[in-house]
C-alpha cells in the first residue's frame, strides 16, 4: 500500500478517535509496567494524532522509506506515546503492546533507534534532538529530498544550551524543511518548568532566533491541525516552531488533578479506573 492509498483507506477514522486510541494504548502499556510516563502520553496524544494522521508522509509497511518525513523523538521518555501512535499507524504490531519495557522488547522505556522501527533517533539524553534535526534537514536539502524533518521536544529541553545552538543554526542555514514541535506542559522532573528555569516569553525567543512561530492549545485538535498546515505552508525563509500548550494526563481528570505528574503514580487498581474514564469519552 502506498501512503496515498493508506490515507484513503483510513480516512473514515476521525482524528479525535485516533487521539483516543493513542491514549488508550498508552494506558494499556502503562498498566503492563505498572508505571510510566503516562501524563506525557495523554498530554501529547492530540499532537501525535495530527502528526501521523494529518501532517506526515510515510509508508507504514516501509518505515525507512527515503521519501518519508522524518519525525524525531528527542524526548526519549515519551517513547510510550510514540509506540502508541506507531501501533495506531501500523508501523509497530499491536500484538507486542504487552512487551512494553520488558526484557528483550522492541519498546524499551526510553526510545532508541536501534530497537524500534519508526524510531528515528535515540533520544533520552535531553537536548540532542534539535541539533540532529538540523543535520538531517541540511542532508535532505543536499539530496534535494523534499521531506520535512520534525523534532518533538519538551519544555524541559528549553533549558539545555544545545537547544539554542541548534535553533540559531537552523535559522542561519535557512532550514525551511525543519519543523520543531515543543510540548509545553509546564512540567519537568522537579516541578513546573516556569518556576524552575523560565523560558518565557518563549514565542519571542524563537522569533528573535529567526523562526516562524506559532503557539496553540495542544489539546485542541482543530487548532493543532491548522498549526501543522500553517507551519508547512508558511512563507518564511527559515525553520518553523509550534509551541503546544498541553495538559498533563489530558483525558483522565483524576490523574490531571495529581500534583506530581512527571512520573505520575498510578496505583494497581487505578489503571482500569483510568481506562473506564477514558472509555466514557470515546469519540465516534
Amino acid at each position: 500500500m502506498t501512503e496515498q492509498s493508506r490515507v484513503a483507506a483510513l480516512s473514515n477514522v476521525s482524528l479525535e478517535r485516533r487521539a483516543w486510541n493513542i491514549r488508550r494504548k498508552a494506558l494499556l502499556m502503562g498498566e503492563v509496567q505498572g508505571q510510566g510516563y503516562i501524563g506525557q502520553a495523554l498530554g501529547i496524544a492530540d499532537v501525535l494524532a495530527a502528526s501521523y494522521f494529518h501532517a506526515l508522509d510515510y509508508r507504514a509497511e516501509d518505515p525507512e522509506w527515503e521519501g518519508r518525513d522524518r519525525y524525531l523523538l528527542s524526548i526519549g521518555h515519551y517513547a510510550i506515546a510514540l509506540y502508541a501512535v506507531l501501533m495506531e499507524a501500523g508501523i509497530l504490531p499491536e500484538e507486542e503492546l504487552e512487551t512494553y519495557g520488558m526484557d528483550d522488547s522492541r519498546m524499551p522505556m526510553s526510545g532508541m533507534a536501534s530497537y524500534t522501527p519508526g524510531m528515528e533517533i535515540t533520544g533520552g539524553s535531553l537536548g540532542q534532538g534539535l541539533g540532529i534535526a538540523v543535520g538531517m534537514a541540511l542532508g535532505l536539502k543536499r539530496k534535494r529530498n523534499p521531506a520535512f524533518v520534525y523534532n518533538l521536544m519538551s519544555d524541559g529541553e528549553l533549558g539545555e544550551g544545545s537547544t539554542w545552538e541548534a535553533a540559531m543554526s537552523g535559522a542561519h542555514h535557512k532550514l525551511d524543511n525543519l519543523i520543531c514541535l515543543v510540548d509545553f506542559n509546564d512540567q519537568q522532573a522537579d516541578g513546573k518548568s516556569t518556576e524552575m528555569l523560565c523560558s518565557e516569553p518563549l514565542g519571542d525567543k524563537w522569533a528573535a532566533f529567526g523562526w516562524h512561530v506559532q503557539r496553540v492549545d495542544g489539546n485542541d485538535l482543530a487548532a493543532v491541525v491548522e498549526a501543522f498546515d500553517a507551519a508547512r505552508a508558511a512563507d518564511h525563509v527559515g525553520p518553523r516552531v509550534i509551541i503546544f500548550d498541553t495538559t498533563m494526563c489530558k483525558g483522565v481528570p483524576f490523574l490531571e488533578a495529581r500534583e506530581i505528574t512527571h512520573f505520575v503514580r498510578v496505583e494497581a487498581d487505578e489503571w482500569s479506573k483510568a481506562l473506564a474514564v477514558l472509555d466514557e469519552g470515546k469519540p465516534a
Binding site: M102, S110, Y115, P117, S125, D190, G191
Partner: protein, 345 residues
C-alpha cells in the same frame, strides 16, 4: 537475550507471560536491598546536617533534586538551594562561580549528564582551577534499565583522566553518610557516585566498626584463597558472593576501595602482595579505564604479579530491561560474581 542491533529491530517479539514478567527498573527505583536494612536518602540528610555546621555549603541541581535526594537538603534549607533547571553545563559552571566567591557547592545530576554533557565545564571551570566543587551523581554504572542514555558505564574512566579530581564510588548508606563531612573538609573538587532513595546498609553488617575514610581502602573480610578489590555496590555483591563461596570452602577476602582516585596503592599492594591469592577486581563500570585497570597498573608497576582477573561491564552499550536480568547478563549479580570466581580457581 541477544544484543540488540539494527537488524533485530525488525524481528517480532513474543509477549512474556504475566507471571514471568520483570518490569524495567525505573530511575525512581532504589537499588534492590537484598536482605539488608535500608536508610532513606542518606546523602540528603547528611548534607543538611553538614550545612547546619558550615554556612559555606550550598546545593545546586539540574532538575534532579528529587532524584538525587537533594530535595531533603532543599526542604531543610530552602534559601541555600538553587534549582538550575535542566541545564547541566550552567549547573557546574555556576557551581564553579559560587566556589570562586567562597561558597562550597554540592551539585547534583545523573552520572551520565555530569560525565558526558558537562565534562568540559567540569574540566576547565572546576578541576583546572582546583575549586572545591562537589559533584554528586545518581544512577552510577548499571543501575537503571533505561539503556545507554542513562547508564553511566564510563564515568570513572572519564574523570580518572582529569587532574585534581578526587573520585568516589560509595557502596552503601554508611559510605554516603560518612563521606559528606569529609568532602566538605577536602579542599579540592570531587566527583562522587551516589545511591539514593532507600539505600542498603551493608558494610557495618560485615564489619561493625567500619567507617568511611577518604582515600583509604579497607579490608572488610579476610579470606585465604581470593582477594577481591571492589568499589561501589560491587563490594556488596562481592561480600554476598564471599559468603556463598565460603560454603564451598573457598576463602574470599574483600578489600573495599571507595576512593578510586587517589587510589590507596599502599593498602592494595600490601594485600595483593600476600602470596597465593587470586586477585579479582569488581566494579560497576566498564572494564576500560576503571578500578580494574587502575589496580592492574599499580600492581605491575610495583612488581607485584599475582594471578589477576577483572569483573566489570563489557566495552559495549548495554541493553535496556529489568535490572536483575541485566546484572545477571553482565556478570554483576551475586550468583555471577561467585560463578566467575569459581571458574578462575
Amino acid at each position: 537475550m541477544t544484543m540488540n542491533s539494527l537488524a533485530r529491530k525488525h524481528e517480532p517479539r513474543r509477549v512474556i507471560p504475566k507471571e514471568e514478567r520483570a518490569a524495567t527498573s525505573a530511575m525512581i527505583a532504589s537499588l534492590a536491598a537484598e536482605g539488608y536494612d535500608t536508610v532513606s536518602a542518606p546523602f540528603g540528610h547528611a548534607l543538611a546536617e553538614a550545612a547546619r555546621k558550615d554556612d559555606r555549603i550550598v546545593g545546586l541541581t539540574a532538575d534532579l533534586g528529587k532524584y538525587t535526594d537533594l530535595h531533603i537538603f532543599a526542604q531543610a534549607m530552602p534559601e541555600r538551594f538553587y534549582q538550575m533547571g535542566m541545564a547541566e553545563q550552567v549547573l557546574v559552571s555556576a557551581a564553579a562561580g559560587m566556589a570562586r566567591e567562597g561558597f562550597l557547592p554540592f551539585a547534583t545530576t545523573y552520572a551520565v549528564f555530569a560525565a558526558r554533557r558537562a565534562y568540559d565545564f567540569i574540566a576547565m571551570a572546576i578541576a583546572e582551577e582546583n575549586l572545591p566543587v562537589k559533584i554528586v551523581c545518581a544512577l552510577p554504572g548499571l543501575t537503571t534499565g533505561y539503556g545507554p542514555s542513562h547508564q553511566a558505564t564510563e564515568d570513572l574512566a572519564i574523570f580518572r583522566g582529569l587532574p585534581n579530581m578526587t573520585i568516589i564510588d560509595p557502596c552503601d548508606a554508611c559510605d554516603i553518610a560518612g563521606m559528606v563531612p569529609q568532602l566538605v573538609a577536602h579542599p579540592g573538587p570531587v566527583y562522587s557516585r551516589l545511591l539514593r532513595g532507600k539505600v542498603p546498609s551493608v558494610l557495618t553488617r560485615h564489619k561493625p566498626d567500619y567507617k568511611f575514610q577518604l582515600g583509604k581502602a579497607q579490608l572488610i573480610r579476610e579470606g585465604a584463597d581470593v582477594l577481591v578489590v571492589s568499589t561501589g555496590f560491587m563490594t556488596m555483591r562481592a561480600l554476598d558472593a564471599a559468603v556463598a563461596l565460603e560454603r564451598d570452602g573457598i576463602g574470599v577476602a574483600v578489600l573495599h576501595c571507595p576512593t578510586i582516585k587517589p587510589l590507596d596503592t599502599a593498602t592494595i599492594l600490601a594485600e595483593a602482595g600476600k602470596s597465593g591469592r587470586l586477585v579479582v577486581t569488581a566494579e560497576n563500570h566498564t572494564k576500560v579505564g576503571g578500578l580494574g585497570e587502575a589496580v592492574a597498573g599499580t600492581l605491575l608497576s610495583n612488581g607485584v604479579t599475582p594471578s589477576f582477573r577483572m569483573i566489570g561491564l563489557p566495552d559495549d552499550f548495554l541493553e535496556a530491561g529489568a535490572l536483575p536480568t541485566l546484572h545477571d547478563m553482565y556478570g554483576l549479580s551475586v550468583a555471577k560474581v561467585a560463578e566467575q570466581i569459581r571458574g578462575w580457581l
